[in-house]
Amino acid sequence: MEADKTIDCKGLNCPMPVIKTKKALNEMQPGQILKMEATDKGSKSDITAFANRTGNELLEVKEEGGTFIFYLKKK
């Protein structure tokens, strides 16, 4: 998937991936795609909850060797 912006949250623990994701989305335009990479084991459920609550759409989540890769579409 093509992303308009990518952020690296690998090595960061809760709550930083969520907070950095929010910050990155704030600087983007509606409809743009954010790619976020994290190793926090809670990030999958955290980002799902974040997307649910904020209305930013979680398009895809994949896991590659302990890294979670999220694609979010800015509301």
């Binding site: 709550p15 929010k22 974040f50 609550r53």
Partner: protein, 160 residues
Amino acid sequence: MAEEKRKRMAIIASKGSLDMAYPPLILASTAGAMDVEVTIFFTLYGVDIINKHKYGSLKVAPIANPAMPSPIPMPNIIGMLPGMTALGTQMMKGMIKKINWPTIPELIEACREVDVKMIACTPTLEMTGLTKDDLVDGVTVGGAAEFLNFALDANVSLFI
């Protein structure tokens, strides 16, 4: 969600030790990132969390804290010896750093960035002789009624 009324979270932060400063700030910054309207009311020792002379050096005491990990097994009473609080604090800071967790000043900054409202309790300031100039930027000063006015419409209310 989208256009409905924003959810609200009201937190009272009443403790000023390093371990007890994390929960209110983590929940508040995360909720703020999730578009929740958050107010933290800092009272009693909790004011240390927003005291700019102290918030970078909050401590945790091993005495009477049986959950505190110890490198070697020892009776809790050892925690009363001089230097044990400094040692315990250093240990906890080491663990925090190891997992790449933000510091208290960094979390306060994260709260500010997502517009968490921070109120310092007026009687506590009176009692401790602090003024607004002693507090970190962005903190306002207020009383119980102001906090309750917000908390009465909150979806989540926590006393920490």
